[in-house]
């Protein structure tokens, strides 16, 4: 899901940077207003956590690989705005040090993985956890949130890939950047993520929320999320 350099044309990656800039600013202001000093280390822990989770590549249907992100779990722990900042840190380190995701595409990858994923997943979680209020119910809500969040990010990533042939095709009919149209990019990305990658993300999110709540870690989940949410 990490878009490399050379896959997106300048209009797309510049637009993604432009979209992220105000979101980063809002996230920073929310945390300044609401993050208590006691919970501050959670942002660093979350950034390192998502970095590590993304190292666990899994073989996916269609002969490709993918990985979970842990983005919705982080959104539940530190709120979606906190998740945006901590996942942004991980994605930036991955691009700068490890060549995982492009330099030009940091904005695009942050939009998909650090913004779309935590916000959709957290939204689904908060809706469902009102209906399923038992401990197990909350874990199920978190799991479904994880599945939805990862797939939402996969979908916007597929959109970015898929619009490149529309925007940039040479006179000879050859693509200038990512060559596959929407009709190929969306099914390929979604087949891989709706099935195994989404299931792994959902399972991790659900189990982690369950065990964190049981192991007296409730304050990590509840208060912190209340502080930075909305």
């Amino acid at each position: 899901m990490h878009i490399p350099d050379g896959y997106l044309g300048p209009p797309t990656y510049l637009a993604a940077y432009a979209a992220c800039a105000p979101l980063w600013a809002i996230a920073a202001r929310r945390l300044r207003e609401k993050l208590s000093a006691r919970r501050a280390p959670l942002l660093a822990i979350s950034a390192a956590f998502t970095f590590l989770v993304m190292m666990f590549n899994i073989p996916l249907p269609g002969g490709t690989t993918g990985h979970a992100v842990g983005g919705v779990l982080i959104a539940i722990a530190v709120g979606p705005w906190g998740a945006m900042l901590s996942i942004t840190i991980a994605l930036t380190i991955q691009a700068l040090l490890f060549g995982d995701g492009g330099i030009t595409a940091i904005g695009a990858n942050c939009f998909n993985i650090a913004f779309v994923m935590p916000f959709t997943g957290y939204g689904v979680y908060s809706l469902l956890s009102r209906l399923l209020s038992s401990e197990k119910g909350k874990a199920v809500a978190a799991g479904i949130g994880g599945w939805v969040g990862l797939n939402a990010a996969a979908f916007t990533t597929a959109l970015m890939f898929g619009i490149q042939p529309l925007l940039h095709t040479g006179a000879d009919g050859r693509a200038l950047y990512a060559p596959y149209p929407l009709s190929v990019a969306i099914p390929a990305m979604m087949l891989a993520h709706l099935t195994l990658a989404g299931a792994v993300e959902g399972l991790i999110t659900g189990l982690a929320v369950y065990s964190l709540r049981r192991s007296q870690s409730a304050w990590v989940l509840q208060a912190a999320a209340e502080e930075t949410a909305q």
């Binding site: 899901m1 050379g6 896959y7 006691r38 190292m55 590549n57 073989p59 269609g62 930036t92 060559p179």
Partner: protein, 115 residues
């Protein structure tokens, strides 16, 4: 704090078992992630290298590319695993440090802003 220490311990365990993410795709003979192919791979798939992609793909030389040493991508899995674990710890340090600095910067300016 005890709670935080426990979370850091979980991260260290994750780093130590990270080569699972290296072995599983190799064992199952899975290819690259969709949309993360190298220019050479693209050329094989569609018959040409897109001009813009060819120009921009190498715009940045990451020091620990693909979580291993440059030029060692074909090394034995056991060697790759070693570099993978090392990369995981570099990642923990960099992300932890980055997260710490960002939090300091964000919450540090709170005091000045409020009279």
């Amino acid at each position: 704090m005890k709670e935080h220490r426990r979370l850091w311990a979980v991260l260290i365990v994750l780093a130590l078992v990270s080569p699972v993410g290296l072995y599983l795709p190799k064992v199952m003979k899975a290819g690259s992630a969709w949309g993360e192919w190298g220019v050479g791979e693209i050329k094989q798939m569609i018959g040409y290298a897109p001009a813009g992609m060819e120009k921009k793909a190498e715009i940045w030389k990451a020091p620990i590319r693909d979580y291993t040493l440059p030029g060692r991508e074909q090394a034995l899995l056991s060697h790759l695993s070693f570099w993978y674990i090392l990369s995981a710890f570099v990642g923990i340090a960099a992300c932890g440090g980055g997260g710490y600095l960002l939090t300091r910067w964000v919450t540090g300016s709170r005091g000045k802003r409020r009279p």
